[in-house]
Assembly symmetry: C2
Homo-oligomer: 423 residues x 2
């Protein structure tokens, strides 16, 4: 929020995404996220994003409001050849300018189809009609040209909806144009804290948040972790880094070992894999209720092969015994979801795979299988480092999926901790 | 478009997603897509979606406009414990009601932390403040309660931002509430088609789409599959079913075996697990580049234990040899990413686990490791049913994550196919 307020003085941009598929939820609005991030990087402040259908009345209402309150309005979608597509027509009307045929656009449309051995359909020529005085952005991946136009001090940028047309056009034409308008650069770093809860973390940095102006500090809650984003505005990259550095340093001082990423953005699984590389240790996993999710997260890291030995999904007791040599009496006496079983799974995975570090997860993810003594959400996680085993007991809330995700995150945090304090 | 026009007369809903992360493009707005799709299913017409930051002035501007023009406004995000979170406070102000402490919510927040062996932070109690007269929706997956309130004939529904809190709450509380408001019942069935491409599927049903009025037909592209939703509006459930039935029947006729779900909604992994149950077969997986994702998807199905034997994550050649008895000369001669290795992985998994059906995945997920002959995206998938092995070669596009997801979906489709045609 403050991050926003900091920018009150800046140039503001507003996004309007046009498309019935978005209103129906047929597709996710990735264009908005892409454009928002790019605009933030350009130092533009985005306060509003709107999605509206291919409907002239509602689009014109939305656009008229946007041009009044923002310096720049980026519209995407509705530039196609069909009758439904009326973003350009509506924008021209709101700006009070006529559409006129652009020979150069007509030519490039003809060329586009020629290149593909096709003839342009009649309605494609509609796409060659351009608002008078507008600037054209070439579309190398489709027939809809991009358009830059001005109205009463507000800049309008019209982009095609398909990401494979929008993204190249933005990078090639729109971004350079916008960069000229904004002198400042934005530099940000995210400090990632494992095992925290947002409200607690926020209280620990409240004084910093209250003091903040540039850089700004914002906290983001994730499953089992909290991210703190430090964002500075500066005249250049070097100055931006210089502004962010001391704040990141202070955060690392306050949260110590709990900080697993503070430089180049890295995920929790990246951090664990990097730590394995650094300490020249190998790892393996044994999973029951998570069924391979923990392995999958580790293997999502490129170059994991040198440090990752193997993963075992032992959902049934039979598999626990056969693949990991968990003792029958352990399962009988303590049950599959127990401190002792988790311990034997971790040690078994180490023995079979020969890995230095092994993590084992056994728990009740639900919806069924819970009892008074062992409710849904109860999970035991063991981590063994060269035979030294740590076992932790957790209660996670939520549905089967949420419990399994939380268990994997906690397992990665436990692995990281055990490796950090090893030797 | 058509679907929209059908509904011009209906009850309208407007979505407002609150969060600086969305304005900065730090996250993609999947909540909007989810809610839009659900609202469409409920027969509500959504004409506007807005994203605004945690800023009181702009949020109250947006909300005041929304309550004037829409029958229902769904707000998500900004219900957290931190100072930034002010959706509830702003909504109360716009509706002109006070916030008052809810003992029941306070109790459930205390219980939430107690269960996790933590103490609630001071600012968590802020979440127990509820607008006077509002209805509370219980949050089983977090501390922020959902809220339903009325103002001047407009209904406000406040949901927490994290999808793993928003989705269960919407299904459990908001959807049933909204269903009561719409006189017509909306009955829809989704026909899920494995391995199709959207444009092809659309061509095969174009005549049906052109003829549609009630029920309506909409296609949704997913990774490696296409979903066709058939939605009918009727005065009662029975009539709705009667309208939908023949259309679903026709779609099943046109797509045959490729249809894996057409009744009660079921996922691809559900379909495979159900098929295993039905044919009394057991399964196991051997994964290289997917690193456990395939196992994790199967284990995500409750009650999988009776049919799921074990999973092996053999990312390194060593593990492939040690755990699955893949021959050294096979790896030397054909490489880890080869038809032969996939085959031996599947047979190895069968031998070790004793499972009837085994799937094996080996491929190059990138970003590194690609060559002229074996580019990034090349994946071999093998499925063995009682020793009868089928191996398929795939080329997938996208980044490491996309390639791995596509490989898992294709493996599930192959498993389904092999089981269907077994015996």
């Amino acid at each position: 929020m403050r991050q926003q307020d900091e920018r009150e003085s800046d140039m503001t941009v507003e996004l309007i995404c046009v498309g019935t598929e978005l209103l129906l939820g047929s597709i996710v609005n990735t264009n908005a996220a892409y454009l928002a991030e790019k605009c933030a990087d350009l130092g533009l402040s985005c306060y509003f994003q709107t999605v509206v259908g291919d409907n002239e009345e509602r689009l014109s209402l939305t656009l008229s409001q946007a041009v009044k309150r923002s310096d720049i309005v980026i519209l995407c979608g509705g530039l196609g050849p069909t009758e439904d597509d009326l973003t350009k027509e509506t924008a021209a009307r709101v700006c009070g300018v006529e559409l006129e045929l652009s020979q150069s656009v007509k030519e490039s449309i003809r060329a586009y189809f020629e290149k593909r051995g096709m003839d342009a359909a009649e309605n494609n020529w509609k796409q060659a009609m351009i608002p008078r005085g507008a600037q054209i952005m070439v579309n190398h991946n489709g027939t809809a040209p991009g358009i830059i136009m001005e109205t009463g001090g507000c800049l309008l940028i019209l982009l095609p909806g398909p990401p494979n047309e929008l993204i190249p056009m933005f990078e090639e034409s729109a971004a350079p144009y916008l960069r000229k308008l904004t002198p400042e650069v934005i530099f940000s770093r995210t400090v990632k804290i494992g095992g925290g809860c947002e409200s607690k973390v926020e209280m620990l940095v409240k004084d910093m948040i209250d003091r903040q102006s540039n850089p700004t500090i914002a906290t983001y809650a994730k499953t089992g972790e909290v991210h703190i984003r430090v964002t500075a505005k500066a005249s250049g990259l070097r100055e931006g880094k210089k502004l962010v550095k001391p704040v990141v340093k202070e955060l690392k001082k306050r949260f110590g070992d709990a900080v697993y990423s503070s430089g180049e953005d890295c995920t929790l699984e990246d951090a664990v894999v990097n730590l394995l590389h650094a300490k020249k240790l190998t790892a393996a996993c044994a999973e029951s209720c998570t069924g391979g999710m923990l392995s999958a997260r580790l293997v999502s890291v490129p170059g994991v092969s040198e440090v990752y030995r193997a993963g075992f999904v032992t959902y049934s007791n039979k598999a626990k015994k056969k693949l990991l040599n968990v003792k029958s009496e352990t399962l009988k006496k303590h049950g599959a979801v127990s401190r002792k079983t988790a311990r034997e799974m971790a040690l078994g995975a180490a023995a079979v795979s020969g890995a230095d570090v092994t993590a084992a997860i056994t728990g009740i993810a639900g919806p069924g299988g819970g009892t008074e003594k062992k409710p849904v959400g109860l999970v035991y996680i063991a981590c063994s480092v060269r035979g030294k085993v740590t076992v932790k007991k957790f209660f996670f809330n939520g549905n089967r999926q949420k419990i399994r995700e939380a268990a994997c995150t906690s397992a990665l945090l436990l692995m990281r901790n055990c490796i950090l304090h090893f030797g």
